[in-house]
Amino acid sequence: MNNDEILKQIESNDKVEKDIEVKEELFYRYLVFWIGEQKFALPAEEVHEILTYNEIYFVPFVPPYIRGYANRHGQPYTVFDLQMLFENSGIEGSHLLILKVPNDQIALLISDVDEIVKVPDSKIYSLTSQDETSQYFSGAVNVEETEIFVLGVSKILERLESDIERS
């Protein structure tokens, strides 16, 4: 095999590899967790930390889905009880998800952490439903044939801003 043949061969291999790369799916990491009896997901990069139970302190003048403040490293974190927002009944949460929200300290009260999953792009989709609760989801992911709603944190924060403005 002369050099030209070698080059032809390796370039051909290279092309095949590139073709394979193009066909490879992108994967995204999601944290799956429980709020009451239902599973939800958040992109892993939106979660800063998971805390086991922290005391939550009452805050006045806020809607009932704000459970209060948690003290994390001497900073007050606003704790959301999303079951109260979605179903009007609070949860007995034992974990806090500390979220990565620019310029604010926000946490979600959750029942438990389920798992961190890698989800291929093809299993992430938008919601078509227009019911009241779906406005708080950025989409859904399919994990082992189960549909899990992905929380849209910005939508949830907008709801709180709106409620506070009106109060």
């Binding site: 006045p60 806020v62 403040y69 924060l157 506070i164 109060s167």
Partner: protein, 175 residues
């Protein structure tokens, strides 16, 4: 650390929650044993103190901050509130004075000060300024307007700094 790095406060302890009042807002205090009922007012302005001397008499309406906090924060507290801090009306804003003069102070002449009834479990403290933290941004504006401009998070207790002026003029204080 210099004096500017500290703040002098009245520190009222309610267990898992505590409250701080800047001493600049309350230069004097008295033991409130003998109060008399006040006409008008509202749920939290129901009594007054009367100070008399040979030359004059001063009526001081009392705002029951202790009762207000118990209701607002849903405390189950048996702590008494025999302490009253005295705040000159000159320290209050026009908005607050205007509200008070339309309501609780309407009947009171020669009123120069307002009394704030606070928990008997209150002490004077000097705390480092850096222990005070702003509210979470999303709640900041609402709580500031309502008279709770900052927090004081401690291990096992969340503290709220109280702005008496805003609190007296706030909607909750009117009920």
């Amino acid at each position: 650390m210099s004096d500017r790095d500290f703040v002098h406060v009245l520190y009222s302890d309610y267990g898992a929650t505590h409250f701080l009042i800047n001493r600049d807002q309350c230069p004097a205090s008295v033991y409130a044993a003998d109060t008399v009922p006040m006409e008008g007012g509202n749920n939290y302005f129901k009594e007054k103190l009367i100070f008399t001397s040979e030359k004059s008499s001063e009526q001081v309406p009392l705002f029951n901050l202790h009762k207000f906090l118990i209701k607002l924060f849903r405390f189950n507290s048996n702590v008494e509130s025999q302490l009253v801090i005295l705040t000159p009306l000159t320290l209050l804003s026009e908005e607050t004075l205007s509200y008070l003069k339309e309501g609780p102070l309407l009947e009171l002449e020669n009123c120069r000060r307002i009394g704030i009834r606070i928990s008997s479990e209150t002490i004077i403290k000097q705390i480092p300024l850096n222990e005070l933290q702003p509210h979470s941004r999303i709640l900041r504006s609402k709580l500031k307007k309502s008279g709770f401009p900052a927090t004081h998070p401690l291990e096992g207790s969340m503290g709220y700094l109280i702005n008496l002026d805003k609190l007296l003029a706030g909607n909750e204080g009117r009920r």
